[in-house]
């Protein structure tokens, strides 16, 4: 493992020079130690130039406003081409069709894909969380039948967590799977499932016992084949005309016995393990980078000093966030689950993702008499219509801050 210096002692000791008199000590549980200085090892870095070359070839001529869709861009052919190179499910063991590489290799791969604005959505959710989930909690049969096909780019996954009445309050889900002879019967509805209409499977968090008052208890995860009778997928069009999101209805859907992922009633714990993967990656800081880099290219070598300072201040916010993401990759690679850290990172990361379009809009509009580059305006306008939702996907800002507060011992 390539974890650099872990500076023992940071925040470990309690205050001695504070107003100590009669006050009890507190121990800050979230310190610089939680983000150990980590470097990406050479075996992972070795992948980078190949990935860059592949992307340059695949994305040649694709304009910035299309690349700005980032991990919302769905292109099955691109995902299959990536899979043909062995770059989907890279962290899975070779016996299940993966490349047997570690979390650092995936970091390098994903960082390059996101920086370039590659359309990764088709394989994204399976690659990022469903495959690791099945590897960790799935049965041997599930692993053998599903994982190799994820790695080949044949099976695309979507996530079924939110419901119409369970948004941030995820533990209140009501979609229910009941035991029936030979399997399970699924009834209910999921919402905001990205690209469900183009996916083959959903990993759904549903209730298998109790009621929504039982909260985290009685939840389980299921592998739902979206082609089964009783499944209806209905796209939701948002204001931009995009239809990435879906509602998914389950009406007496009969699932086989082995559709259960992990153990019955363990769903909440399993979902939380997934969330550390979902919130710690570069996709939480790079969603507006195609725009930033287009703007930077247009600034050229002799920019207005105000524009340079604006760019530099954004870079200064990005730099420690990338460090944090590498640090969490090291922790994940070592078997840890940095949930609070990931919440802290994602909250700050989506803030900078939201800030970049706002800053560039300000920079462009600061001198309205100058003609703006048309492609910059297209890319900017696209992100300005979406950046306000960047903090919603994968856990809202308010929920994340609540998790940080819990990590700080306040709840």
């Amino acid at each position: 493992m390539h974890v650099g210096p872990i500076l023992l002692g940071y925040g470990r000791e309690t205050a001695r020079s504070g107003n100590t008199g009669n006050q009890k000590d507190v121990c800050v549980s979230l310190t610089l130690e939680n983000f150990p200085s980590a470097t990406i090892p050479p075996h992972a870095e070795a992948l980078r130039s190949e990935v860059k070359a592949f992307i340059a070839e695949q994305l040649e001529g694709v304009p910035a406003h299309v690349r700005a869709r980032s991990w919302s861009g769905f292109d099955a052919d691109f995902s299959r081409a990536l899979a043909a190179r062995g770059w989907v499910g890279v962290t899975l063991p070779r016996e299940y069709g993966g490349a047997g590489l570690d979390a650092f290799a995936r970091f390098v791969l994903v960082e390059e894909l996101l920086a370039a604005g590659a359309p990764v959505a088709a394989h994204w959710f399976g690659d990022r969380q469903s495959a690791p989930l099945l590897l960790h909690y799935g049965t041997e049969e599930q692993r053998r039948s599903i994982l190799p096909r994820i790695c080949k780019g044949e099976l695309f996954f979507c996530i079924g967590m939110s419901e119409p009445n369970s948004g941030s309050d995820l533990a209140s889900v009501r979609t229910r799977a009941e035991r029936v002879p030979g399997g399970w019967k699924l009834n209910g509805q999921k919402i905001w499932s990205t690209y469900a209409h183009k996916s083959h499977y959903m990993i759904a968090l549903v209730r298998t016992s109790g009621t929504s008052e039982d909260r985290q208890n009685g939840l389980s995860q299921f592998l739902v084949d979206l082609s089964l009778p009783g499944v209806t997928v209905r796209p939701i069009m948002i204001g931009t005309g995009d239809t990435d999101f879906n509602e998914v209805f389950f009406e007496d859907v009969i699932l086989p016995e082995d559709a259960l992922v992990g153990s019955e009633g363990n769903g909440w714990k399993q979902v939380n393990a997934e969330l550390a993967f979902e919130r710690s990656g570069p996709e939480r800081i790079y969603s507006s980078l195609v725009l930033l880099d287009l703007w930077a290219r247009l600034l050229g070598d002799n920019p207005d000093p105000e524009d340079a300072a604006r760019l530099g201040r954004l870079v200064a916010r990005l730099a420690p966030l990338r460090e944090m993401s590498v640090a969490m990759t090291a922790v994940l690679a070592a078997g840890g689950s940095p949930l609070t850290e990931a919440a802290l990172f994602k909250d700050m990361g989506t803030e900078i993702e939201q800030q970049i379009p706002a800053e560039i809009a300000d920079a462009v509009g600061r001198r309205p008499e100058l003609a703006a580059d048309p492609e910059l305006v297209r890319t900017l306008a696209y992100l300005m219509q979406l950046n306000h939702v960047f903090s919603l996907r994968g856990g809202t800002r308010e929920i994340l801050r609540g998790m940080i507060a819990r990590g700080l011992g306040l709840r």
């Binding site: 020079s17 200085s37 980078l289 880099d293 870079v315 916010r317 460090e323 944090m324």
Partner: protein, 324 residues
Amino acid sequence: MTDEDTFLTEAFRRQLAGLVTPEGIRQIEAGDAGAGLWQELEDSGFVNAMLPEEAGGAGIGLAQAFPLIFAAGEFCVPVPFAETMIVRAMLSAQGLAAPDGAPLILAAASPTYPCGRLARHALVERDGVPTLVAVAGSGDDVFGTAAAATLAEGEVIAVLSPSPGAVMLAAAAVASALTAGAMARVLEMSLRYASERQQFGRSLGKFQAIQQQLAVLAEQVLSAQVAARSAFAGTAFDPVRVAAAKCRANEAATHVCNIAHAIHGAIGATWEFDLQLYTRRIKQWQLAFGSESYWGGRLGMARLASGHDLTSDFLRLQLGAKVA
């Protein structure tokens, strides 16, 4: 970081815990020269830790010096420990001896010089040449921290090799690391206060509005700390890393101080309460040695001049962690 480095840091923290007291800090702020504390720090040997072993030091590099400077910020060391450690290392690297036992500061052009009143000598830049001069007088202590708004430069003590901008880089890096350390204590004090202070029948920390603010406080503190640590990677201060660190420290400073004092209420700003000892220092470092716009401008120019098409490449190659 080896076990030995960790041992060094732990030993220093234990020393500081015994040496630095809120009363001592207030005495220095009231006009005391801090000679007693300074002598203790000299005797401890830590101020020479970056000197080679044959010169009585521990031969540590920047990465190992970072946790010591961080600790100086965290324990609110009211004398120029970190500055002296760095200036002595800069002198020693060129075969120059530092004046015996004297507190030194880094005095790149700045509206205020932290610890300016306590320094006997200052490293200034004259036509691109780092030059150690005697401090012949100090102007207003505008933060009440023994800082000086101006310095009167006396005789030249030592002249280093020309290195335009080197004093500014070191000064900003040290300010960023001290800020990072001070913020650790500000977070800790805020968490403690939120858990103890009762309003509406429960502790402040039970209110969601307060929890959300403390989460933001932690975010700002952690990102400033990670950025500061990055400025101490490698063998010499790097303009890109220092720019990011000082820019981030300055931006975070406003959030951190606002939130910490919001959590504490008016009592946190009172003379008797220790929080203000930290936040006044964080504000002094915010004003000193380049603002976020200054360092942001330099960082932005560096990004544009880097030749990289991708900001991610710039982050990775010029701001990423280095192998220790």
